[in-house]
């Protein structure tokens, strides 16, 4: 198996004026001096409390404006030192979930572009319908699963072990472009793979970019929603911040006001699903409470999600406060007068 090594420039850290990667962390209280010291330990391959307390929210990848990869470095060192962020049985479970079996690949040969990969979210097949998704082929299953989730599980080497095979499988289908339903896939191909020198022979398309372009084609059919929304960022959006403007672009097109609130944009809070998985229950409760209260105070009607896992994690909490949880593509469908899947 090829050895993929992280492209990490230690000198960039040594001259960093902010150490925002750790200073801005929402889940650890770290001042600049401590951040510098702990980052140096991590670079040296030494133990650091950061390795044990990291909530694996990916945000430090965005906070680092120099394009270094602090989070990837942290996860690699966690694995090297055998520091499991999550209990062993849950790691086993997730390792098994992503095993690419032979079962689900044959039927996709011959699928015509444009093609959208639903990753491991078969439950969303019914939602990929209507004007925005006309003429789209769907692929999904473990052979299209980007594997990036193992960053949460102290198993990043598993990503590098499996990802080349996943990429090879997609390439075998001769797809030139693949629309990524889950931006974790997009971020894998555009951030993680390049960071480790893994070649991606097709062009990943961010779902929101695709949605925006399709909405533009149907602009005259849009009925503005005239509603206030909160947008729940998910961890992998931190790996593709350049695509974040599409959130605002889409909201603007469909008449949704992204209300100013404390925990939005770079200050966004994690949905807390993974924090619960880390078995940090108090933090989980605290993060969700602050996040949802922030939405309530902002007076939003909808909480808009990018990620199905965030939807699962947070939808119950927002619903209890009278806020409607909805996936971004479903909100777009609403603006076109179409009903989201499952709505009556």
């Amino acid at each position: 198996m090829a050895e993929f090594k992280l492209k990490f420039n230690e000198k960039l850290c040594a001259t960093c004026p902010t150490y925002d990667c750790l200073v801005r962390c929402q889940y650890m209280d770290i001042d600049k001096a401590t951040a510098k010291a702990e980052m140096q330990k991590i670079i040296n391959g030494e133990d650091s409390f950061v390795l044990h307390q990291c909530a694996t929210c990916y945000a430090c990848e965005e906070y680092c404006k120099r394009g270094n990869h602090p989070f990837y470095l942290i996860t690699d060192l966690q694995e090297k030192k055998g520091i499991l962020p999550i209990p062993k049985p849950l790691v086993t479970q997730w390792v098994n979930i992503g095993v690419p079996t032979r079962k689900d690949i044959q039927e996709f040969y011959g699928a015509k572009e444009p093609v959208i990969s639903l990753c491991l979210f078969p439950a969303y097949i019914d939602s990929i319908k209507g004007k925005l998704f006309e003429d789209l082929s769907i692929v999904l299953g473990r052979h299209f699963f980007c594997q990036l989730a193992y960053l949460h599980f102290g198993k990043p080497s598993l990503i590098r072990q499996r990802l080349p095979g996943i990429i090879e499988n997609i390439a075998k289908h001769d797809f030139k472009e693949v629309i990524c339903f889950h931006d974790e896939c997009y971020s894998t191909f555009t951030s993680y793979a390049p960071a480790y020198g893994i070649e991606v022979p097709f062009k990943p398309i961010h779902l929101f970019e695709y949605l925006y372009n399709r909405l533009k084609e149907h602009e005259d059919e849009i009925k503005p929603l005239n509603t206030k929304v909160a947008y729940q960022r998910n961890c992998s959006t931190r790996l593709a911040p350049k695509k974040e403007h599409f959130v605002d672009d889409i909201f603007s097109l469909i008449g949704a006001e992204r209300v100013e609130r404390k925990y939005d944009r770079e200050n966004a809070l994690c949905c807390a699903g993974i924090i619960r998985g880390l078995q940090r229950y108090d933090l989980f409760v605290d993060v969700q409470k602050r996040n949802v209260e922030d939405m309530v105070n902002a007076g939003v009607e909808y909480c808009v999600f990018n990620c199905p896992a965030c939807f699962d994690s947070l939808s119950e909490a927002v619903t209890k406060k009278g806020i409607k949880p909805i996936m971004m593509h479903e909100l777009c469908k609403l603006a076109l007068g179409e009903k989201p899947a499952g709505w009556k």
Partner: protein, 462 residues
């Protein structure tokens, strides 16, 4: 001895022509259950409507020494209502009335053929603050059938076997007398078996070999507004007894079940401990949840166990009553066959039972699924050695039968007792039973059923 024709006519006089049959196609249905026991047809099927009709049928059977098998939903999987010696299949499904609900004393009185589904629906409609302990059997399973086999349900961790919730019985004895058991024998109320001598034990766990239960009084319990679930996961089976011990110590839980199966892959190599909680408010649920998390902190910190992330869909499925997930797994081989041996074991024996399950699965090249349930505050548990099989594959069936046999032996070897055992397993139990106890069982049976007409083949000591 009267002729078969004559018997048919007598039965028809009692229940009416349309409720008696000796037609092959109907006898075929009553000849089997979904398990692996050899089918055997009855000679007649009768569907009485009243206790008095049953009384008359039983008297004829007793006079003429015709075997009689009381039938509920026929869903035990262990052939407990297969008429091994023919005779009359006494189907109680027409006796399906909910006779009384006492809101304040929290009990219900039902007829012998009331199904789990009917009682659940009835309570939801008329008494939304009350519930009974619903087993994971299909809704067509009967309430009486479940207590006769010492079934378990969603409230078993709190209140014991479903048969521990019995408050009274009306029974037609094999000699035809109608007998009331419990407070209803001296009072209009069906509130309790105690403080009288406990005669219910003459009928519970006997699989209909000592009489026909025509009415049942059963405890009902408060139905909380909300239910939720946590799923604790471990890899090491030796941790399971301690997890159960710690969780039951909190006394905060409704149901605790334990599942292990290799398919789908998300369940491979792990053991899942489902912990259900109920409450009338978010605060109550949250308080209980925190108690449970705190109770398992040691296992979490050692990284040997943790709470699974459950999506709303999975939660909904796990909280279903009855659960349908078990049924779906039961057909994993796509051959329509599923059978299990579910001994009641001391909780600390879980690791041994689990090890044996994997051993038999490997030895016979078949897949497995284990779904256990904690009974009482860790007083014991049901552990199922479950094997899905393909009914169209004789080799697969043979290997499954061997695995089941070995599972029964292993259950006894580790100190457990097979639950709702099929006839061969009953024999295994009786072989190991204390001789005086066995003699007492024989005496009781002979006393109640001198002609041996009731569900013959079951609990028959040599």
């Amino acid at each position: 001895m009267i002729s078969m024709n004559k018997t048919y006519k007598l039965l028809a006089e009692i229940v009416g022509e349309q409720y008696v049959s000796n037609k092959k196609e109907e006898l075929y249905i009553y000849s089997q259950d979904p398990g692996m026991m050899e089918p055997h047809k009855p000679d007649y099927v009768v569907m009485p409507k009243t206790t008095q009709e049953i009384q008359r049928i039983v008297k004829i059977a007793n006079d003429e020494k015709i075997p009689i098998v009381p039938v509920g939903g026929s869903l035990s999987l262990s052939g407990l209502v297969i008429p091994h010696r023919g005779g009359i299949a006494l189907d109680l499904k027409r006796m399906d009335r909910v006779l009384e609900v006492n809101e304040k004393s929290r009990y219900v009185v039902v007829e012998g053929g009331v199904t789990q589904g009917k009682l659940k629906a009835y309570l939801e409609r008329h008494h939304p603050n009350l519930r009974h302990s619903i087993p994971d059997a299909p809704p067509s399973a009967t309430v009486v059938g479940n207590i006769v086999i010492h079934g378990q349900g969603r409230l078993t961790q709190q209140y014991g076997f479903n048969s521990d919730m019995v408050t009274g019985l009306e029974v037609v004895l094999p000699t035809g007398e109608v007998c009331k058991i419990g407070s209803s024998s001296v009072s209009p109320y069906w509130f309790s078996i105690a403080p009288l001598p406990d005669l219910a034990g003459l009928f519970l766990g006997w699989f209909g070999t000592t009489g026909v239960i025509t009415k049942l009084g059963l405890r009902l319990y408060p139905k909380k507004e909300m239910r939720d679930i946590e799923m604790f996961v471990v890899e090491d089976p030796t941790l399971v007894p301690d997890v159960i011990h710690r969780v039951t110590h909190t006394e905060m839980t409704e149901d605790i079940f334990i599942a292990a199966q290799p398919y789908p892959l998300v369940f491979k190599d792990i053991i899942m401990i489902g912990i259900c909680i109920t409450g009338d408010s978010e605060e109550e649920i949250e308080f209980k949840r925190r108690m449970i998390w705190d109770a398992l902190r040691t296992h979490i910190e050692s990284k040997e166990g943790g709470f699974m992330m459950l999506t709303p869909d999975i939660k909904r499925e796990l909280l279903e009553m009855p659960t349908t997930g078990t049924t779906r797994f039961a057909d994993v081989m796509k051959g329509g066959g599923f059978e299990y041996c579910g001994p009641i074991i001391p909780v600390e024996k879980y690791p041994e039972a689990y090890k044996k399950l994997l051993e038999f699965s490997s030895k016979y090249g078949i897949t497995y699924g284990s779904a256990g349930r904690v009974i009482g505050r860790s007083h014991c548990m049901m552990f199922s050695f479950g094997y899905p099989f393909n009914r169209a594959d004789p080799d697969n069936i043979e290997r499954t039968e061997k695995a089941l046999h070995d599972s029964n032996v292993a259950s006894l070897d580790i100190g457990g007792v097979p639950w709702k055992p099929e006839v061969p397993a009953q024999k295994m139990i009786m072989e190991r039973m204390d001789k005086n106890t066995l003699e007492l069982m024989k005496r009781m049976k002979k006393l109640l059923d001198p002609n041996g007409i009731m569900n013959p083949g079951n609990w028959e000591a040599e």
